[in-house]
């Protein structure tokens, strides 16, 4: 699992995640996100087009990052979810608490 910072646009930090966010990678995800959040920026747009699997541990990690950003009056937006990942968000109801977009452009458009 890799998280890559792709740049900044309209004050939003653009990230791209690749791989699985699951039991084995969740802690690494938490750690890397915490560093990125501490480095600055309160709005994060995360491209998940290369994430093909997420389980409850992964959702937990995303929720943790989301709560951290809320403390900074910030938000996390997710974009380009694969169908199976989108389904996990829908079943868990996470799609109603974390904004999900079909593209990075759509996410940027709401800023």
């Amino acid at each position: 699992m890799e998280i890559e910072k792709k740049g900044v646009d309209k004050d939003a930090v653009l990230l791209s995640v690749k791989g699985r966010i699951d039991e084995r990678t969740a802690r690494q995800f938490d750690k890397q996100m915490a560093e990125l959040i501490n480095n600055g920026g309160s709005c994060f747009i995360v491209n998940l087009s290369e994430v093909d699997y997420i389980n409850s541990a992964g959702l937990r990690s995303i929720l943790i990052s989301s709560k951290k950003l809320q403390l900074k009056a910030g938000r996390i937006f997710l974009a380009n979810l694969q169908e199976s990942v989108k389904q996990v968000f829908q079943i868990s109801g996470f799609d109603s608490i974390i904004p999900i977009f079909d593209s990075m452009e759509d996410a940027l458009a709401v800023l």
């Binding site: 699951d22 039991e23 389980n55 109801g93």
Partner: protein, 137 residues
């Protein structure tokens, strides 16, 4: 087709267990989407065993896969840990917003949502969880 795998109840065993589940689903002709759901259910169940079954010592977990009838994969997960019926855990509050949303409870919820039948029994000091996963077209 009955196949079984017994490994230590540790995260390191996940790769092998999940590979086993995926190939079992694929052998039955399940779609990639449904196979991924089955993998997710298997991971959630196994992680619960890893986290809770053996608080005082190490132990193993055995995973058995079999075809029950055309189009259904049965997973049986057995451990010799403390009594634990995963069905007794409640669902998370799906309507809670970010501040109030708790991080726990989701795993069991996925297991329930994505499985077609869940049975549990405690026998001779073992927890035996049986999940029926239909192909779902």
């Amino acid at each position: 087709m009955e196949n079984t795998k017994k490994l230590p109840a540790k995260t390191e065993s996940l790769d092998e267990f999940l590979g086993f589940v995926l190939s079992s689903a694929s052998n039955l002709g399940f779609t990639p989407e449904r196979s991924k759901e089955i993998e997710l259910v298997a991971e959630e169940v196994l992680v619960n065993v890893f986290d809770y079954a053996y608080p005082e010592r190490d132990g193993d977990v055995e995973l058995r896969c079999r075809a029950e009838r055309p189009g259904a994969l049965v997973l049986e997960i057995e451990d010799k840990g403390i009594p634990f019926d995963i069905r007794s855990l409640g669902d998370p509050d799906l309507s809670a917003d970010i501040e109030d949303r708790q991080v726990g409870g989701l795993g069991v919820f996925f297991i329930r949502s994505l499985s077609d039948d869940i049975q549990y029994r405690r026998e001779d000091g073992r927890n035996i969880l049986t999940l029926v996963m239909e192909g779902r077209g």
